[in-house]
Amino acid sequence: MTAGTVTSSGVRAGHDGFGQLLRAEWTKLRTVRGWMVGLVVAALVTVGVGLLAHDSCSNANGTACSLPLGPGGEAVADSFYFVRQPLAGNGSITVRVTSLTGQIPTGSSTGRVRAGGGPGSGPSMRSGLEPWSKAGIILAASTSQGAAYAAMMVTGGHGVRMQYDYTGDAPGLAGAVSAASPRWLRLTRSGDMVTGYDSADGLSWARVGTVRLAGLPSTVQAGLFAASPLYTKIVSQSLGGSSGTGGPTLATGTFDQVALGGNWPDGRWTGADIGGAGAMYPQAPGAFHQAGGRIIVTGSGDIAPDVPGSGGGVNISQTLVGTFAGLIAVVVVATMFITAEYRRGLIRVTLAASPRRGRVLAAKAIVTGLVVFATGLVAATVALPLGEQALRKGGSFIDPVSTLTELRLVVGTAALFAVAALLALAIGTMVRHSAVAVTAVIVVIVAPYILATVLSAGATQWLLRVTPAAGFAIQGAYPRYPQITASYSAVGGYYPLVPWAGLAVLCAWAAAALGLAAYLLRRRDA
């Protein structure tokens, strides 16, 4: 139409070139005011709903909510009973553990388990152990919370472990400890390197692990410890999370032989609660008792990374919760980008102008994908810092993540928008009716989250692996730790798939749908 036969062949090539097609589709998208408004709405609700994400920080002690940071920069819970003395230079500590017992609340108090619930909330205790109740030996850079450390321990239900710098965990001897079957534990320091050993008889030793604690001072604090994490019993589960009963627990370890190697200048043990009053992590007071070479240590708390949402800090991906709302707007626009052509009969003009139908769909997909990606990028770039600011203003502590993770959250959210839009475009092409297509896409994306209220955890996890809703995994900000018992639910920001795998599942759905859409577009009358 525009380029006459008199123009050069270069322009003629452009006339039916793909670039022209892209421009035509971009013009269509750009000039329908409702769609542009829809995209702006998508960005606005993504940001706006994120600002609503709200978390009240309740701390029994009235202090500001904050958590110590570990050597890796992650928020940690660092509360335990520490029986220590300084170790100057290299050296070792070897102990024999003959029992690990504990106390857990009877669980009569109901209500949401939160940080700062305080030891007073569950006064009646019965004997019992948490699977991750622990007692053993530890070597730490200092007594301040978040200090670098390495520890060998016996646990309530996971055998002997070597743990270090909060996130590290390596298994040693399996089985429970008892007087009949004691456990020998040893830590040796050599420069920056700390090695843990275990033994069932004190004669044959096995190395459990060696870690490098960068920047370990020449004099470290070393000795015995006991800790026992919060006890929670889930009473009811709802979309809003789970409410349960619980409270701090206590673990008691009995060490009947303690042997020290190297230079221990103090020559006597000092006991203290690390964390203690003012800590966000609920802790019952610990104690130690020394008699005839035997030391009994009782402690409460945990030495582990914080699991956001389980009482301590807040999950940073809460700031992106508006994605759900934004996606609905994006899906509507992307669906109508094709269904409106059918409704108005414009599709016939489009296909007459460009008879190669596959290319029309490709052009539409590229334009939709790029425009929606840009929309999502703007929305997430604004939503993340604004939401963080709002949460901090409300007194919440957001568990820090690396810059790379933040970048992935922003770009991943934009990609989630774009791929969901492509899925909507494809289903719109197949179905041709906007109401049906919009509903189909929205339902497959939100259904697993809606059904999470009623379905069993297993069924929900399965849905989050295979349905397009798996794409939300790209917003998972924190790893899950096997050494911490917590409810790692999708609603809390923990997805069954790793971030990029989740997005890949959504991409696979979109690709399959686009393929089918292209096939149907070619085969059917317009």
Binding site: G34, H54, G240, A329, V331, V438, I442, A459
Partner: protein, 288 residues
């Protein structure tokens, strides 16, 4: 402007002739409107499929939910078996919403609405007739879907550890709370249809209208789930049409609900009433 070429009764099926003004006129107007709406909805091929899909999806998802729920022997499972058996309503409502939205926007997309309003200039009557017809259809499809759900729960759950021997009664509509939950679920679907009808009358475009309805239904519960402040969360659950309305399905832990079952359904009814009112007003005041 569109009414000019057509006489008021010319296109109204079953309407009296132009000269037949009389005392029976108003009554036959309503009957005629009902008949017209019924004919329109009945003869659109999508309607029967959507009704079928609503019933099948409701019953099917309910059966899947029941099949995925197990109670290991010896464990005490605090599970609301009735609510589990009615899970399909969560998704079935989306199909009901499509049906209701299309009943309105289908006319706008084809321009049929001008013919309709020319034939029946009393616009409120048109909306009322549409409402009545959609209500009737959803009542039927909803009843089938919900009965299928209850039947599936009754057949599947006992084999999954929820047997009468372990203290879980067999689902039976003779049971007061079960009847309330099941009957309430049907009413819930009807109210969702009315809400969608109202929203669609305001928005007039099917894509935007269904997007608005689904956002209203599904987004609020998801936002409520991340609001960890219990007070806020409860408040959101009380005003959200979906979470409040679905309180009608609960048969255990009623004291812990944000609203009592009937009050929850009342909240949804208020939403539906408000949407229809807005739709009626806009329909009267705006050019078609």
């Amino acid at each position: 402007m569109t009414a000019v070429p057509l006489g008021p009764g010319a296109a109204g099926p079953g309407a009296a002739g132009p000269g037949a003004a009389g005392p029976g006129r108003a009554g036959s107007d309503v009957a005629g409107a009902l008949h017209a709406e019924w004919t329109k909805l009945r003869t659109v091929p999508g309607t029967i499929w959507l009704l079928l899909a609503a019933a099948v999806l409701t019953a099917g998802v309910s059966a899947a939910a029941a099949a995925s729920t197990r109670c290991a022997s010896g464990a005490v499972c605090r599970v609301d078996t009735v609510k589990i058996s009615l899970t399909g309503v969560d998704l079935g409502q989306a199909v009901v919403a499509i049906l209701a939205v299309l009943a309105v926007t289908g006319e706008y997309s084809t321009g049929m609405i001008r013919v309709t309003l020319a034939a029946m200039p009393r616009r409120t009557t048109v909306l009322a007739a549409k409402t009545a017809v959609v209500t009737g259809l959803v009542l039927v499809a909803g009843t089938i879907g919900v009965l299928g759900s209850v039947l599936a729960g009754r057949l599947i759950l006992p084999g999954h550890g929820f047997s009468p021997a372990r203290g879980y009664a067999l689902l039976s509509l003779g049971d007061g709370p079960v009847l309330r939950a099941a009957g309430g679920s049907v009413l819930y679907l009807v109210l969702i249809a009315l809400l969608s009808l109202g929203v669609a009358t305001v928005i007039r475009e099917s894509g935007f209208a269904i997007g608005a309805v689904l956002a209203l239904l599904y987004v609020v519960p998801i936002i409520a789930s991340v609001v960890t402040d219990p007070h806020w969360e409860r408040h959101l659950q009380q005003i959200s049409p979906m979470t409040a309305g679905l309180d009608i399905q609960a048969t255990t832990g009623l004291s812990g609900l944000p609203l009592s079952p009937w009050a929850g359904l009342g909240v949804l009814a208020a939403w539906a009433g408000g949407a229809l009112l807005a739709g009626g007003l806009v329909l009267r005041l705006r050019d078609a």
